[in-house]
Symmetry: C2
Subunit: 480 residues, 2 copies
């Protein structure tokens, strides 16, 4: 773990990003000069300035933490990004690739030769190579396999076999194991012989002859205990054991609830396979929150903000297509009532209000239910209670906002019946929104689907078409 000083009070020094931009501009300024001067055949003098600036840039860059380099690359347009990338030392390449977003990583990998890619993996652990693997060309992966010693080859194969959202995909193999029948003093001597401990080593894993996990020795316990004590006497036997096939979210929940720094991963026979550490869990939580936000807006994956136009169009395609379909259905519902609208054109101006408020209210209900489902706060007994409550909320909201809207309608169109119909339509559409806002996510869950995915689109489709139908239908029956 490399650490850097961050000083954010008083007069702020330039951030690494600002400094790189400055050096880059300086370099490019001279590069522009070179092209001019080339024509005048004085290239060699200016070229030395250029070289010097480039060296300054490279020097500064390679002092930075790989995560900071990744961040700088993500914030640069493609051309500058590749220039900077070519200056990063080969030994940092792998770490930087690990830290970039998928979209930006793809642009960097495309720019690298196969040999360069294989070389980049040499500085990585097998679990890290497995994280990169989906983005690497097939023949690079084959070369990487060939370059690894047998044991690591097996680890890589195992790591690559776990599905993306499983505990196995979060796991690393940096475990220190000890036996329970030794004294702490022996453990301390054993540790001292290691040059360094793996990051996030807050516990040592106590295993028997068959590598079965018996417990853990917390480092904090090791430090405060008498060196003459046996491991068995100070180890913790009741521990969190994750399994590689568990969903990653379960591991994240355990880390959050029990404030873990690392946790063991074992197979069905309790054999120790590896561990999950808190930094991986943080990355998982962040990625997940981000993906949810992107999916809600209909972006199928994170987007390189400097991606070419056509690539971005593709990323946003699916959602707009779905929306077009639901908008068409709503349009056809209105089409059914064209005669009514022709007779009373105010209906056209009022109908989007009913649909819009219904959609908003439905989305509030959906958000609450999806969140409660994710936190496992809903069971069969409480589902009914929730439905009753949401219906109650929508009744109150419908009567309240419906009355306000009804009054406005009356004020504008001087038509009391029209106002009354607005109120009725609001109440009914909010009821529809509440009932389906509870039922849609619960049904998706029952069907084994992710309730967060698509339920917002569905509720909006229902409240749009439903809102138009209810309002125009009521008007047709009672007014015309």
């Amino acid at each position: 773990m490399t650490e850097t000083t961050e000083n954010n009070t008083g007069c702020e020094p330039p951030s690494p990003q600002q400094h790189i931009t400055f050096l880059l501009r300086k370099y490019k300024l001279v590069e522009g000069l070179v092209n001019l001067q080339d024509l005048q055949d004085q290239s060699h003098t200016v070229s030395s300035v250029q070289k010097q600036n480039l060296a300054e840039l490279q020097n500064y860059l390679n002092q930075l933490h790989p995560a900071d380099i990744a961040h700088i690359l993500e914030a640069l347009p493609l051309e500058d990004r590749l220039l900077i990338w070519s200056l990063v030392k080969a030994e940092h390449d792998g770490d930087v690739l690990l830290e970039t977003s998928d979209a930006v990583r793809a642009t960097l990998i495309t720019d690298m030769g196969n040999q360069e890619l294989v070389a980049a993996t040499e500085y990585l652990d097998t679990d890290e190579i497995a994280d990169l693997a989906p983005d690497l060309p097939q023949n690079v992966i084959a070369d990487v396999f060939r370059s690894l010693p047998v044991e690591e080859r097996e680890q890589l194969r195992a790591a690559m076999s776990y599905p993306e959202d499983s505990v196995g995909a979060l796991m690393d193999f940096d475990v220190i194991t000890i036996r329970e029948d030794v004294r702490l003093e022996v453990v301390l001597r054993y540790l001292r012989r290691l040059e360094e401990l793996p990051d996030h080593t807050d516990q040592l894993f106590v295993v028997d002859r068959n590598e079965q996990l018996k417990g853990v020795l917390l480092i904090n316990r090791l430090l405060v205990s008498d060196p003459e004590t046996l491991v068995a006497d100070v180890m913790t036997a009741e521990i969190i054991k994750l399994h590689p096939g568990d969903v990653a979210q379960q591991a994240a929940n355990a880390f959050e609830r029990y404030d873990l720094v690392s946790a063991s991963v074992v197979d069905d026979t309790d054999k120790l396979l590896g561990r999950v550490t808190v930094n991986t869990v943080i990355d998982f939580i962040r990625d997940k929150a981000e993906n949810e936000a992107l999916n809600l807006a209909g972006l199928s994956e994170e987007e390189d903000i400097f991606a070419p136009v056509l690539k971005s169009v593709k990323n946003r395609w699916g959602w707009l297509a779905i929306n077009l379909v639901t908008a068409f259905i709503a349009s056809r519902v209105i089409g059914l009532f064209e005669d009514s609208i022709e007779k009373l054109v105010a209906l056209a101006a009022l109908m989007p209000i009913v649909a819009g408020i219904g959609g908003n209210s439905g989305n509030q209900t959906i958000t609450m239910i999806v969140r409660a489902l994710a936190l496992e706060q809903i069971n069969t007994g409480s589902a009914w209670k929730l439905l009753v409550k949401e219906v109650g909320v929508s009744l109150v909201n419908g009567l309240m906002w419906g009355t306000i809207i009804g009054a406005f309608t009356f004020a504008i169109y001087q038509n009391a019946e029209l106002g009354l119909i607005m109120t009725m339509a609001m109440v009914l559409n909010l009821l529809l929104a509440a009932i389906l806002g509870v039922l849609i996510p619960l049904t998706l869950r029952k069907l084994g689907r992710d309730p967060a995915l698509g339920s917002s689109v569905m509720i909006t489709a229902v409240t749009d078409s439903g809102g138009f139908f209810i309002f125009l239908g009521l008007a047709t029956i009672f007014l015309l």
Copy 2:
């Protein structure tokens, strides 16, 4: 840190939540019986069964980790929640309160007497009391202050003084400090004299006589180094130093980027004030992601899913009111064109399509920009590039989807000009969405506001009213 065994493969044992529900039902079943039997005057025999069941429930409950108890309380309707809460041991009360959501915490605190509340804080650290303080009655806080020793009273006052989203609010005071001129052996002996180390102690803080921070001694370094070495020779001098006034998000970014377990907090003179640990950071990240999701849907705060109807209505009030206003404006825009709609009623059926797709496309742009702003990927130079790109994406989308919609329109209404106007309106509204999708969040940011808050409402308002105006305006000019 209490640890529990989680076993998720094969035949699953009931989760704590399921088990509590089972025990609760058992208890209530008997309680129901009691009421029946009371009438027949046989209460004393059944009452002993009831007592036994209650004891079983209480027993099981108090073996659980406070975080698990909090989770169970959140998933129970109010009446059951308070029953279970009354069974939790007083010494766990504080920890459980810390782990519950704000909304549920309020229901629990309302149920407790002042004395009980003061007692609950006795088992908490000062930074934890500060976290609870906003929810405690004023006189309870006064009593707590009186009960604390002077030093802790000062800590509590300091902790309570930091604004909610600052590093100071995440900070705790559990630091172990050492001097740089001692040998590691002395450090080891010093640690052994402590009964236990604070959770998440992955480093000891090296300070001088004035409590100024000189560096840190990583525990992992301590363990592998020769005990005869001086602290000064193995300590890390270049470290992350947070300041209590920094925004908490900065600390979270540092933890995520540099994979930290703990980080020092210092004042302007480098005096060590405390530390931030990774478990607090995880809670912060989760809370933040959750609040963003809730705000997007217009829920002003997290809601107890079993909250009474009127409380929920209040929580959802603001958003619906704002939406009502924007819907009214859109409605008045349509009202301007009532003559046109009367002449060609198909306009009424088609206009929601233009508005809807514009809103979706605008929200995609907003989401991308807000995310890029949060990750600090946008500077003045790249803002222009982004605007050009988004305009390009919306042109492609507009022409593509616009043509499809135009063709459908022609197919349904047999009116080529109407189809053409649909296409034009789509292109123009998507352009409007793209331009404002970039400008709204950037402007909010310039004004020092949170670009995530409200930009989605604003873009939808613009694309709704704008879409109606563009489509109906074009139709009025070219068709009628």
